[in-house]
Symmetry: C2
Subunit: 343 residues, 2 copies
């Protein structure tokens, strides 16, 4: 005796019949949109279990105008730090499931048309777009869409959009304050290559401005240096730095690709970390942990961002409006690369 026929789908009508109620009652038991007597509820729930009923997603989407699916658009660009990206995606899926939503995975290479496709076909109720650039070509589309969206990253014009990102200005300032608190008076910022400052997400610029404001506030000597991720560029940057500021004892590094060549180069010129030079990095936790020595760092809170993105989306879907940008406060984790200045 097997109750499931070949390929047959159990329908709400069958459940209703089995429980001796109307189809709508089954629907309402499932959605909780009207009160049901405990007795009826139990009967229906039993039938659902016995028949192993699962509502047809397409039918439900058609009738209710809700697919219960969220789109997640991930970047393909090789520059990204993959573990952080994955951590973020996992966090999105996990949070979405808490709200009974599923997640459709899209790649950025579909461009604006990809967003339109899944939105216009009502495949998804909402979208999360990662790695949004300053002048992202998808912005017009996102503003037009009937579905709410959350952008990870802050474009140049955020009007009409909901954005989330780490507060890089605060992160830059936090690093400066940490070094200043440890007694360092002359510090430097090693950032991403110049190219990054022009296009992309603008986070590099925000870090610099936070860095510079904090430097001014604390009355430190400082300079900032874009840096390519090559040994040669790192050497040159260090030369520049120590020539301009011979007293330099602190470094803020906002460029994960540069970390290991930088540590190597420092070692080779006889500068010990943290005895001679203290370092604070803005980078993924795993990178900071694996460095030798492990770096005190401000981490990218991928998990929080993912969770928050979904929560904002659910708010929008429930009618709670929230067009605005959210900057997450940075948190500094002390490890072994920053110590009291020995001047």
């Amino acid at each position: 005796m097997r109750s499931e026929g070949r390929g047959r789908v159990v329908t709400i009508a069958e459940v209703a019949q089995h429980a001796g109620v109307a189809p709508s009652t089954v629907s309402y038991v499932l959605s909780g949109k009207r009160s049901i007597s405990p007795k009826t509820r139990r009967r229906v729930e039993d039938s659902i279990r016995v028949l192993n009923y699962h509502p047809h997603a397409g039918a439900r989407a058609l009738a209710s105008q809700r697919s219960n699916v969220i789109a997640l658009v991930v970047p393909l660009r090789p520059g990204m730090h993959v573990p952080v990206l994955m951590q973020f995606a996992i966090s999105v899926v996990t949070t979405a499931r808490r709200f009974d939503q599923d997640v459709l995975l899209l790649t950025a290479d579909e461009g604006p048309a990809g967003l339109r496709r899944v939105a216009a076909s009502a495949l998804v109720d909402a979208l999360i777009v990662m790695d949004v650039e300053l002048h992202d070509p998808r912005l017009p589309e996102l503003r037009t869409l009937h579905q709410p969206s959350v952008l990870i990253g802050i474009p140049a014009d955020t009007a009409g959009l909901t954005c989330i990102d780490l507060d890089f200005a605060a992160a830059g300032a936090l690093c400066v304050d940490h070094l200043a608190d440890l007694g360092h008076r002359s510090i430097g910022l090693v950032g991403p290559p110049t190219a990054v400052y022009e296009r992309e997400t603008g986070f590099a610029t925000r870090t610099i401005s936070g860095f510079e404001q904090a430097v001014a506030r604390r009355g430190l000597a400082a300079s900032t240096h874009p840096c390519e991720p090559t040994y040669e560029a790192v050497r040159r940057t260090l030369d520049d730095l120590f020539r301009a500021q011979p007293e330099l004892t602190g470094l803020v590094v906002h460029n994960e690709a540069v970390i290991s060549p930088l540590l190597d180069s420092l070692h080779q010129v006889g500068k010990r970390v943290p005895q001679d030079v203290s370092i604070v990095a803005i980078c993924p936790a795993d990178v900071a942990e694996r460095a030798v020595p492990p770096l005190s760092s401000v981490l990218i809170p991928a998990e929080d961002v993912g969770r928050l993105a979904v929560e904002l989306l659910m708010d929008s879907l429930e009618g709670r409006q929230n067009r605005q940008t959210t900057l997450l406060a940075p948190r500094l984790t002390r490890r072994q690369s920053a110590a009291t200045a020995t001047a």
Copy 2:
């Protein structure tokens, strides 16, 4: 004049009216399931463009019994090498889009019930399940499902299932042959910790058997060693190895976590790579490339596996049956860690 109303969805009926044809004709233009006169086709296509029509995914799924969505179940377990996982996922999405399919991202923590949920609700037409273990609790569910599925990894019993994986036995043999061809006569295999051999995917066992068969075939001296990813364990393993085989000049490493401590330890006991010891690794390409020196390696062909998985699924959906397991031939990339034996 704006043709899109507030939240209104353009329907096939509107397109039909605009083009002066029946709704079914529009449908057939879209699906290509019956021949249309060039003239009609053009009219319909124009209307579709003008009205910016996108078929409603839910309605389509309901009427056609096809959602055009594939589920991708990714593991959460921290042991996984994340970049490979991501590479695989990207490959799945990219290939799926070529077949006009979308990808629903699920995490393994939903277990068998998660598979049932998306399958029974007809949210997806097919499933790809990554990181399948020898006695995976999801196997019964996968056998019951009305949707086809492809498993990444080879369980103990593959009956009624479609599985794909790298041919680890062949990979083990390939490494042995490479070392033997270079003149090495005494070699060792450093594998994953013993725990991995018992549970999980069985790939470790397959590597060993391939290794041992090749060793026998080539008449080499050899031994195999599970190894925890700690410096201490690595030292002990090397001690054992060189005590038992003082003439040892070649190592096959199938454990990416062990690579960097192993290279360090070798360096510290004065063994140069590749002059004194040649190494061939079975690991992701990025790990092999980043090692010092870069390792000759058999890589995990994540991209091929992802593409193939989707292609197999599409075959099933099109009615081309294929219950079977596919082992991908390993490819060895020469880098700098393996050289001619200097005996």
